[in-house]
């Protein structure tokens, strides 16, 4: 069994005064303290864009050196926005195999060292196919825009119907201390938000941010602040290029990852869902692929308030990528850390009452790499 025995999340935002390694160290130290100052025998760094933005690779050694973990085996794991979920999945395997007993998983992304949108777009476009999409000027945002247009056409919904998603996400984030955007938005803010890749607007996607979060995973049921179990995990990939896909409004990798995760448990009924969504439309497709609603009906879940933190099917009680913030390679470590805080009853102010089980879905790229973790309070 794999236990989460400690975690930490830094506030997502602009950390001008801190470097990649400062952020990673701050989150790591806080997580180790949370776990009771334990020793770790393995380090996994989750990150996606350090080579492009920070000119630094070999992050395993880089972060281990900075943490004084000399001699401890360390690697970087990369799977776009799902890097942290992939890191946790590999950590789980190492623990179950006996290769490691306690693993520090730290997710870190330092995106604001370049300050222009052109540079952010260039970095993010490395998450799509570089030679036949990005070369032609396509961006991650524009790929989501193509999906959004197809979704609107297929299900006959309007652009305004996507507003329910950011509205709920921002509402949730108001109570989340570590969230990037702790303010509410309304339909008018959505409609007047500038288009960045038509029909997708600034309100459909996350901002640019720095962030770091960390987890301490253990083979033992230990830790002074309570722990949670990773009960099962599943991962699946899809074609990276949109032009190679048979449907733009489906993400079969989510279905496959879910099926794999569920195949190892008897009956799993989550009390809340954590979904890494890069855009409103991928958030909608995600809840449909998880089977929470029928195709084209995701907007109702958000419009009718069922997805609220106190609703019947809570989704992203902390505000999701949209409002908590989306430091790409670190984001899914945030998700797992947040789920840990929920399951140990420590999500003060943003707690889902009585949360015992969580389904954490992380989507890398545009559904090209999906990972599901099923978690339970220990």
């Amino acid at each position: 069994m794999v236990f989460v025995i400690g975690a930490s999340v830094l506030k997502v935002g602009d950390h001008w005064e801190k470097s990649l390694r400062n952020l990673a160290a701050e989150a790591s130290i806080a997580a180790i303290r949370d776990a009771g100052e334990v020793d770790v025998d393995y380090l996994i760094v989750a990150n996606s864009l350090s080579g492009v933005i920070n000119g630094q690779e070999n992050l395993g050694s880089y972060i281990a050196s900075h943490l004084g973990l000399i001699g401890v085996p360390a690697v970087k794991v990369e799977a776009a926005n799902a890097s942290g979920a992939a890191a946790a999945m590999l950590a789980g395997s190492l623990i179950r195999s006996g290769e490691a007993r306690r693993i520090l998983v730290v997710g870190v992304e330092k995106m604001t060292d370049y300050t222009s949108l052109e540079d952010s777009n260039t970095a993010l476009s490395t998450l799509i196919d570089s030679e036949y999409e990005a070369f032609h000027g396509a961006t991650l945002d524009s790929m989501h825009a193509l999906v959004m247009r197809d979704y609107m056409r297929k299900y006959r919904i309007s652009r305004e119907d996507f507003s329910y998603f950011p509205i709920i996400m921002h509402e949730n984030a108001v109570d989340t201390p570590h969230a990037q955007y702790r303010f509410k938005v309304d339909l008018n803010a959505y409609i007047t938000s500038p288009l960045i890749a038509e029909p997708l607007s600034m309100m459909d996607v996350p901002g640019i941010s720095d962030g770091a979060a960390a987890l301490v995973l253990s083979s033992k049921d230990e830790g002074p602040n309570g722990n949670a179990k990773i009960v099962s995990s599943g991962q699946a990939t899809d074609r990276i290029s949109l032009y190679n896909r048979t449907s733009l409004v489906e993400m079969p990798s989510i279905r496959m990852a879910l099926k794999r995760a569920l195949s190892r448990v008897d009956d799993f009924k989550p009390d809340f869902y954590s979904i890494e969504e890069y855009s409103s439309v991928s958030g909608y497709i995600a809840v449909e692929e998880l089977g929470l609603v029928g195709r084209g009906e995701a907007y109702k879940l958000f419009r009718d308030g069922e997805a609220r933190r106190d609703g019947s099917t809570p989704v992203n009680p902390e505000g999701g990528s949209k409002a908590r913030g989306d430091p790409i390679g670190a984001t899914s470590v945030y998700q797992l850390a947040e789920a840990y805080f929920q399951l140990t009853g420590r999500a003060q102010g943003w707690q889902v009452s009585g949360a015992r089980r969580a389904l954490v879905l992380s989507i890398g790229g545009l559904g090209s790499n999906s990972i599901v973790h099923l978690m339970e309070g220990a």
């Binding site: 492009v52 052109e118 490395t126 032609h136 000027g137 396509a138 193509l146 288009l195 890749a197």
Partner: protein
């Protein structure tokens, strides 16, 4: 931010596809593709032949980009589109010689060779396919 720089060899090896729409056809299931893959994405066959793809097609989906990456600011706003070629092959490309308000799904287009970007220490100019509205009477 090295991702901005275009390397000469990486562009050079894609020239048949980018200049001439030279793609692939699976000898096993007939699936056509751009670029030519090593393994057919539909049936998994490794028997793929070079195929000259048709230069005409139809816009099936598009987006107008207002936030460009480095190297594309000059074109902003520009249009990227999923184009279905006459033989069914899907490609992603920029549209040219057309304004955003004139674009529509179902619009017939043809391939033209255009400058895509200028980049790198040597100032390499990369040309590639773009699609423009099909001229009536052609």
């Amino acid at each position: 931010m090295w991702a901005y720089w275009l390397s000469v060899p990486s562009h050079w090896r894609e020239i048949p596809a980018r200049y001439r729409l030279e793609g692939g056809i699976c000898r096993s299931c007939g699936h056509t593709m751009l670029p030519k893959e090593d393994i057919c994405p539909v049936c998994g066959s490794r028997d793929i032949a070079v195929k000259q793809l048709p230069r005409r097609g139809t816009v099936v989906n598009y987006s107008v980009i207002w936030n460009a990456p480095r190297g594309y600011e000059y074109y902003t706003p520009y249009i990227i589109a999923l184009v279905r070629l006459e033989d069914g092959t899907m490609v992603l490309s920029q549209l040219t010689d057309v304004t955003p308000s004139e674009v529509a799904e179902g619009m017939e287009v043809e391939m033209v060779l255009r400058k895509v970007r200028v980049s790198g220490e040597s100032g390499i100019i990369a040309y590639a396919y773009k699609f423009r509205p099909l001229m009536r009477g052609d």
